[in-house]
Symmetry: C2
Subunit: 384 residues, 2 copies
């Protein structure tokens, strides 16, 4: 199928846009944030929670689901949507990032990748075709191509070899992809080298995909280099296709990326930080395990309308974390996703009102300083 | 205040009854099962879950809340109901059982109990008066007296000394109790010695409490002895006061105890077994971690109307447990409490229809064999 992406509103002065992405399992208003359900579950939550949160699309991972419980089992149950009881759109990442960062890599050949599972050490071989097939069996709305991911920093030569291999793999993925109920997304690479990024995207666009991701960023490179890569990428990508910045990011990162024309995001930050006791609030980060929270009668964020903030005091949440009660991480996970999903609504509203600059300044002031240090390592694939 | 306990229906042939217990935070239809919220939270769940489950009363623990976060902190936040955002009735156990089983006991004197916290080894001294005061600060609907708990087996002499001390402590508790917004419950002791049980209850009834618990059972004694103690206890207790069998039990235990005239129950079994992967179903126990569940498309209990059974397959639940995802234990905890709370409705219905015997036979057949072995240790206080 062809992704029906419609731009509803474009910024008058910048590159941001509000869009609507029609997918087999429903429509998604962009810019959109995808909660991360690596193994078919957003850690601590249920699909009912995700509905209540107003999530319109979530992300899962072909690498993880291939290893556990296996795509054939999920297909036999009726596909990933039925398996996890989630009827709205799902994007599955190919797992390229995970193979290169999480598994024990054995060898990368032109044919594919040989690696050992990070679960049990069992050996697996994935090819671009196999990864397309896995995602077809999962039945996600958007599948991503297998890519050859390089770490940061890496040499120009290393980045070039991997980018060119990723390109050839993307071409093979396109040839292997036949589902008319699934969009195939390409992934742009080239590390922090503008000429490699440009070449990669131009050649991917020639092949013609229905969605384009900007990959290999938010892996430790300086922020200004990341924004330079994003900016040149969105300049090159067709306006009428959705653009997805993988693994990003903090609230400030998301607003900045939207201002540069990005439509889709995923990040483990709200879920992982929630689980470990840090909340995103309208006045910055709050560490609930801090001793100052012990007797604090106020809501986590008195301005927030989520059930956690409507019902509970910081003192209670602190108590739950202090006692090791899983309800604490559960409530903060919910709250943080509520914050991120409401942020996306505020962003769309700001684009419609041509006031994204002001929102970007506000969010950046609030979050950039405190989040920048924490974000290192938060893009990792080992959990959510 | 005086507990307004009204009997709505009595068995024509046995001792069971359906009642209504009016408490400051609402009314409770009995027989009732109280989900265990030891530290002010039912493990894995929120108070919203408990509302959705239809719980009408929950149990919390003065020992745990005294140590963490402390009754003064909870009182400053507005009491336990506000702290945990639960507006229906709460019964707090005194913590006598926990002091004697969980803490490092230092000494028991006529004045009270000296022990070390199982959290941090800090030393604490609790008296009957102090425990009444703690529960007054917590603001629970039903407070229980501090009792001197003996293990099983124990000698007649040991049981007699502890029972007599418990009696004197109960008298002091009654004198110390002044809240008109809280019912004070006494606890009958005497181990497995009928004459001690009889003497204890008769003297407690002379003192005059608004609720009576049968304590010190389900601690490893043979079932027939337990039922003998319960039977003689309910024969002695006034009909117009609620009777609470502490720490019991399996579905079969609950139905049997109801047939002997018990009104209130609490047990960690549904929550603890749910967390570790065992579900109570309409056809017996199901271990979700069993390899046979891996590809099982059916609901955990196809006859169950809880959200877990409405939305998810056994294969998905197995996958969650296999991946160590907390959503698995959360869903099974919810399901098991749903089962126990619906069981209480079936029991009330059976009493109304004079068919409790048939229900008892059905449940006992289904559950007694498999649950009896598991129940050892399930009455322990270390968690829920």
């Amino acid at each position: 199928m062809s992704a029906l992406f419609t731009i509803k509103k474009e910024s008058e002065t910048g590159k941001s846009r509000v869009g609507c992405l029609q997918l087999p399992h429903g429509s998604v208003t962009t810019p959109a944030f995808m909660p991360v359900a690596t193994s078919g579950v957003v850690k601590m939550l249920t699909s009912e929670d995700l509905l209540n949160l107003g999530a319109s699309i979530i992300l899962s991972n072909a690498y993880h689901l291939h290893l556990k419980p296996g795509e054939d089992l999920i297909a036999a149950i009726g596909g990933l949507h039925r398996f996890m009881s989630w009827q709205r759109p799902i994007l599955t990442d190919s797992g390229g990032f995970q193979v290169f960062s999480l598994a024990q890599l054995r060898s990368v050949t032109e044919e594919g990748v040989l690696f050992r599972s990070h679960y049990d050490g069992s050996e697996h071989f994935l090819t671009p075709e196999k990864v397309v097939q896995i995602q077809a069996k999962l039945g996600s709305d958007i599948a991503m191509v297998l890519d050859d991911v390089v770490p940061h920093p890496c040499s120009f030569e290393q980045a070039k070899v991997a980018m060119e291999r990723s390109l050839r793999w993307a071409k093979r993925s396109l040839a292997a992809h036949s589902s008319d109920q699934q969009v195939l997304g390409a992934i742009g690479h080239g590390s922090v080298f503008p000429e490699l990024r440009r070449e990669c995207l131009l050649r991917l666009c020639e092949l013609g995909f229905d969605a384009y991701a900007i990959g290999g960023l938010s892996v430790g490179e300086p922020k200004d280099l990341m924004w330079q890569m994003v900016d040149l990428s969105t300049d090159l990508l067709p306006k009428d296709k959705p653009r997805y910045l993988m693994g990003v990011g903090t609230p400030a990162d998301i607003v900045t990326a939207v201002s540069l024309g990005v439509d889709l995001f995923d990040c483990v930050l709200p879920t992982r930080m929630g689980r470990t006791g840090t909340a995103f609030t309208s006045f910055g980060l709050v560490s609930i395990t801090n001793a100052a929270m012990r007797r604090d009668e106020r809501a986590l964020d008195p301005q927030c309308l989520c059930p956690c903030c409507q019902h509970f005091s910081r003192a209670y949440l602190h108590h739950l974390f202090h006692c090791g009660e899983a309800t604490g991480p559960r409530l903060l996970t919910y709250h943080n996703l509520f914050f991120f999903l409401r942020l996306m609504e505020r962003i769309a509203d700001a684009i419609a009102k041509n006031s994204l600059d002001a929102l970007q300044r506000d969010i950046t002031e609030l979050y950039l300083a405190s989040a920048a240090t924490r974000h290192q390592g938060a893009g990792g694939p080992s959990d959510q």
